[in-house]
Subunit: 438 residues, 2 copies
């Protein structure tokens, strides 16, 4: 027979079972946090009509998209979960209750150039709160509380949700009459840590900015201090256009309410350089950093937008949301050995039968499963040593051997495979649960 080499496409994550168990645990923790805050589940198709999916897209996104014909139909794979949400809300407007709070966890597709740590298929885990015509600012303060709860749940303590407001940046650029250069200016600001202040000034000059304008921008990005001090300094900069003033006022309210939502001071801060792309977000913006691993970049980002679905409906649908790129996060955490795929089995207990009649081992397994213990029976006829090797290799936490003696005495030995400890207990599911669930 002619054989094909079994291989997986570059840029597509495919994990070994121990890694998959860890990945799924993280995904589940994220989902549970979203549910705790009452977000509703959504699951849209991976394939959409290209016309629908690309109603808004352009530039880079369009180039990266997986697009193809099937019969006469022009199809594309979703590249994020926001466009499908916009389509969904516009389509089902009459059947939804607003504010519509939804989460979606699913794979998205971008045909990026293949390189280490870049994925073409990756999980996004999104939440959004969509208002009908209006959505009050207090919602912007709940999002950091969700992020905080989620990263605590994922086992992190030292992380910071950075919060800014796009109106402040827009107002600043308006005040120095550089609205048309805002994209370019933000790009330059973004590099300041890497290239230094002098180089930034040079680049500003090349862009045609005058000394006074440069000074104003630098004064702004050099604002330091606590969140409250930053806001106070923003108010003292002397910029008075309505956009700027509204932005500062919003940021102040959001920060006040983030405290109310119980996010500790250590886990959030005002960061005036956060901008999150340029044409989508209009108010509050968020990025989240693991402080010891800044090199990973933002691990959870998002913000407030004026209008979710303007390409599909005349309804005004303002919203606020954030997204985690779970596949990349998992890859990075794993690479930096911040997380470790310890667990190789789903089974908590392996029952090894050493007799012809499997009745008793199977009965015990069924009882244990009913108690919520994942239980596997080793069903293949091997030597005891080979059976233990299987448990060992899969790192199944507990092993019970059942032979004629155990049936007669109604006593079993529960072996903890990690410590090597053996305990003689009655062959009774409750006795076993007591130890395993400890």
């Amino acid at each position: 027979m002619e054989r094909v080499e079994p291989r997986t496409l570059a840029g597509f994550m495919e994990l070994l079972p121990n890694e998959q168990i860890l990945f799924n645990q993280m995904k589940e923790k994220i989902e549970n946090t979203y549910k705790k805050f009452g977000f509703l589940p959504l699951d849209t198709p991976v394939i959409e009509l290209a016309e629908v999916l690309l109603a808004k897209a352009g530039g880079e996104t369009e180039k990266q998209i997986y697009r193809f014909q099937k019969g006469d139909t022009d199809l594309a794979l979703r590249f994020d979960l926001t466009v499908p949400l916009a389509k969904y809300v516009a389509k089902n407007y009459g059947n939804l209750s607003f504010p519509f709070r939804r989460y979606q966890i699913g794979k998205v597709y971008r045909g990026e150039r293949a390189q280490k740590g870049r994925y073409r298929e990756f999980y996004q885990c999104d939440i959004d709160i969509i208002g009908d015509g209006e959505l009050e600012l207090i919602n912007d303060a709940e999002i950091p509380a969700v992020i905080y709860t989620m990263f605590r749940e994922l086992g992190f303590e030292d992380f910071t949700v950075k919060i800014n407001n796009r109106r402040i940046l827009n107002g600043l650029f308006e005040s120095v009459e550089q609205k048309e250069n805002s994209v370019e200016i933000l790009r330059i600001i973004d590099k300041i840590e890497k290239i230094g202040k002098e180089e930034v000034i040079e680049e500003f000059k090349k862009l045609g900015l005058k000394d006074g304008q440069i000074k104003n921008i630098l004064d702004f990005i050099e604002i330091e201090g606590t969140s409250d001090e930053k806001i106070e300094k923003l108010e003292g900069l002397g910029i008075t256009n309505p956009t700027y003033m509204q932005g500062v006022e919003e940021l102040k309210t959001v920060i006040k309410n983030v405290r109310l939502f119980g996010v500790p001071e250590a886990n959030f801060t005002v960061d005036l350089t956060i901008a999150r792309g340029l044409d989508y977000y209009t108010g509050t913006v968020y990025e989240t950093f693991l402080n010891k691993y800044r090199e990973i970049g933002s691990v959870c980002s998002g913000g407030r937008y004026e209008n979710l679905a303007e390409y599909y409906t005349e309804k005004s649908l303002p919203g606020v949301g954030v997204s985690i790129g779970l596949t990349r996060l998992f890859y990075k955490l794993n690479e930096l050995q911040i997380i470790k795929a310890n667990r190789k089995s789903i089974a908590d207990i392996l029952i090894i039968p050493m007799l012809e009649n499997l009745e008793e081992p199977i009965k015990l397994a069924t009882k244990l499963r009913n108690e919520g213990i994942n239980t596997e029976i080793y069903l293949n006829d091997k030597k005891l040593k080979a059976k233990f090797k299987y448990a060992d290799k899969l790192e199944i936490p507990y092993v019970i051997v059942i032979g004629e003696d155990e049936i007669k005495s109604n006593e079993i030995t529960l072996k903890n495979m990690l410590t090597g400890n053996e305990e003689k207990i009655p062959m009774d599911e409750k006795a076993i649960v007591n130890i395993v669930k400890k």
Copy 2:
């Protein structure tokens, strides 16, 4: 602005939140059952190299496939979870422990002709047990136990796992010297309920079968009785070729062990007409029917195969497994009103604040979330009536209103939205949990 009509492709399921909640509950129950039996999780890419995915495919499958170019690469979307499993096991052979027990729940794609209840994107929920070189027959008996546990978990009682063995059919056809017509004969047998025995005889004759051959086949498919009686009659048919005899012996052993695995007599039976396609399964085969809803067809099917990955590796990898097509099952159960999407909210409690300062409502929400209660705070500034309407529309089970009075008295009223009952209790998460978790 020019707008695009927001629409979803025909043949792609996209649910409203209440339906999605129900769908996810079913998916979770299936996953939890698979985990209870110790199956390991797997999550392979949706996109694969066409060459890899289509190593074996042909005919109908190939026509239905979503296949396209990206750059120079010939890609295809997976059309089942078995081929990706074969690729995965062949590729990672050295890193897996055998028997390799894995589950995978994910979307697959088939560009079928669009028609009601037919999906082009649908969830499959698979388990397989793969042996290295050999896999003992006892594994075939565990599968019905998994199916039984799963459908009980899904709330069904009156269902039957039908079990057969392909060797018996092959042996029968061999005995009447009709091996080369086996596909056609099975197709005719399959129609007997619809067209009746006389018509079947006519079709057999057209195929060139002689009276004696027809009689032997009819004697076979007319075998009736309990599972044990059927097996006894099979043994008495006088067919003696090794294929047939091995098939009967295997079926006998599997049935004996299915009992051992605790599947009640009412939930399984030998059905000699079950065949499950022709070129893949080689031994035990399963189909599962909801007895009151036979029109749905089999809701969980699979079987034993000789060699999982022969197109990728020279290793012999026998296996046994089953699959649920969850999307179609959900559609059918919903259509027949066997299941009903009652729940419209993920939140167990909606807290409605009726005061300026949200500190206490937010504190209470955080405490409730820590107790495992999904809690939403109504954050938008509406009249009390509008807030209750939101709870009503989303059918959130419990509502707590917190105003100045409640803060002063430290007492709240917990309203059960289903019964209308109101209970005055301390503003304390434990007191609330006691009622809500009841």
